[in-house]
Symmetry: C2
Subunit: 369 residues, 2 copies
């Protein structure tokens, strides 16, 4: 089906393991060969001309791996492998690590493509983003694919790229972009109304593993701000608007002011009920207008407004009626799509995130394999 490429996987946690599982279980993907695996402790490299056997990668990595290489060393080893195998190499970053993200320009200058669900490189400083854009111009034509950075496997980045590439004018991008925020407000403010307390929903979400270990990391809105940064950098006219990346996005934190400095997650959750009345009030105001509350990201291209925060939507709006679970939804309003183009579905989870990564690897193999 696709050309043959070699793959180096950095990070073999939940998402990385799901990537390996998909590569190993789909016969048509057998031309995508894993030649390197690395986690924070160990590195496993394939012998020249060989690929790693994926059936028992855990024990191989544990028993046959060397102590984890530095990223500089990894590049050197991958260059050796490439010199012998004569195949294009794609580096997959399955971490959420800043230091790996900062290394993308080096991977690209070495001639390797980069595929990743890691938001850090594309949502951080403009310097890093610009360095990546510049490194993509390298003579070896390395590719960068990042579908899973927004909405996991949902066709969001690819759709926005197609709209832009074919000359459509993006007017507005708006969406529920955080699975955790989606869950919380689908429960807190359903179209039919609710009286459940905000703190109670957050507490249940945390118990079920839907939040970060510290729920304040979700309620800060920074995940949404990062995704808005990634999207806005794909839009002509906005690409260079956010000098400090997600830190430049106007972001409403839902952590009550009184808990802003509470680093202890247990204490944070215990004290959250003190602020339920504030949330009740905001909800009551929305319900009085027959509206629901959603935590959304918004990019208004003409006004150059990029912001994350709580918004009210009428009860018959797709954001009010259509969502469930921890679904993401994104709406593109453009010159061609005056009625918006909508994409909706699970926006988090190892399998759907890995799907976006593997589909991106197929694209690299089709183009460079």
């Amino acid at each position: 089906m696709s050309g043959r490429i070699d793959i180096a996987l950095i990070g073999v946690g939940l998402v990385g393991s799901a990537v390996i599982k998909q590569l190993a279980s789909v016969p048509a993907l057998s031309s995508l060969k894993v030649v390197a695996l690395q986690n924070s402790r160990k590195t496993l490299l394939a012998a020249p001309g060989q690929a790693l056997a994926l059936e028992n990668w855990q024990s191989q990595l544990e028993n046959n791996g060397v102590p984890a290489l530095s990223l500089e060393q990894l590049v050197t080893e991958l260059k050796n492998i490439q010199a012998k195998n004569q195949r294009h190499i794609a580096v997959v970053d399955n971490t959420s690590n800043d230091s790996v993200a900062c290394f993308y320009p080096s991977f690209l200058h070495a001639g390797f493509s980069v595929v990743t669900p890691n938001k850090k490189a594309f949502s951080g400083s403009l310097d890093l983003f610009s360095a990546i854009e510049e490194a993509k111009q390298d003579d070896s034509k390395p590719l960068v694919y990042q579908e899973s950075t927004v909405g996991a496997g949902l066709p969001i980045i690819g759709t926005l790229k197609d709209l832009v590439a074919t000359g459509d004018k993006i007017k507005k991008v708006e969406g529920v972009l955080s699975g955790t925020m989606s869950y919380i407000f689908n429960e807190f403010s359903p179209a039919a109304g609710s009286t459940t307390k905000f703190s109670e929903i957050v507490s249940v979400a945390r118990q079920n593993g839907y939040t970060e270990p510290h729920p304040g990391d979700d309620l800060s809105g920074s995940d949404v701000a990062r995704k808005l940064t990634i999207l806005s950098r794909l839009i002509p006219g906005l690409a260079y608007e956010l000098p400090r990346g997600f830190a430049s996005v106007s972001t409403q934190s839902l952590t009550p002011a009184g808990l802003a400095d509470e680093a202890n997650a247990d204490v944070y959750v215990q004290r959250l009920p003190e602020f339920d009345a504030e949330f009740d009030e905001i909800r009551a105001k929305a319900q009085a207008k027959h509206c629901v509350l959603r935590y959304v990201g918004l990019i208004d291209v003409e006004k150059k407004v990029i912001k994350a925060g709580l918004e009210e939507y009428p009860a018959d709006h797709p954001f009010a009626t259509s969502l469930g679970g921890s679904d993401n939804i994104i709406s593109f309003t453009t010159e061609r799509y005056q009625r918006p183009l909508l994409v909706q579905g699970a926006g988090a989870g190892a399998d759907v995130t890995a799907m976006g990564v593997v589909a991106d690897l197929v694209r690299v193999a089709e183009r460079r394999g």
Copy 2:
């Protein structure tokens, strides 16, 4: 941005003109060179090493074109151009012609890629579909892209291909796939209820150009059946289920039995009110259950059921609440997306159809340019 390819455009009506406009107006697409234009009357070929100037293509085609070449002759001329230009050629079929569709295997065997919004080749006989699949294996590795055959520029075909390629198991595909049917039932059966007569809505739709010249061609459901055929042939286990293509799909026609043979469109529309009571009854039954009516296509993979027809949906279902105008909506339920992945938006129109075609051309240029 993308590699350089040469393009031959067959059909320069509404969609073809929009394709040319997009190619001419987006600077980043300047490496996609049009070397041939053809309509039913004339053919215009570029000189060796040259591309056609797109600013004044209409007058060029009219004044400098030769009488339309046969498709065999066109292949010969394109081979000459390719021998001189040494670039990959993509043939774009912007017609809805059966005879052009039947020629795809010849284009592919000649080494040309095919990009098209024409549904005919992929929704007709299994023989033609199989011949195309076989011709794609040609040594010259020609590509076939067809995003705009279902939902125009909406990411439907690409999304289904990614789900399959990464090993997801498709369980159900369900959607409002005809813009005309969407408009008619959004008006006839909105979530809030309606008493407007079916015949009246069809008549208005026809006056506004939303239907085929003979509305029976929409109400037959064959457009939906064709799209279901295209989608089902991308699903492992179903690809070879429909021997006669769309004619093998179980399809409910909305043309009343008494009008089945009425070839005169004016008479058809004049007589439609005779059957309004039947439609009123179906609507009343749905409304009594707090449901709306939608004309949908359904693929149930496990049961191997592929059918097009009227279905009832509860008033809070996305198909009931979220649609407007002539939107398409499609829902993929899979092993990974237990809550379905939804794509929604304008599914017809020259600009959005051309967008799908041009985005496909970019993919061909990225892979073969």
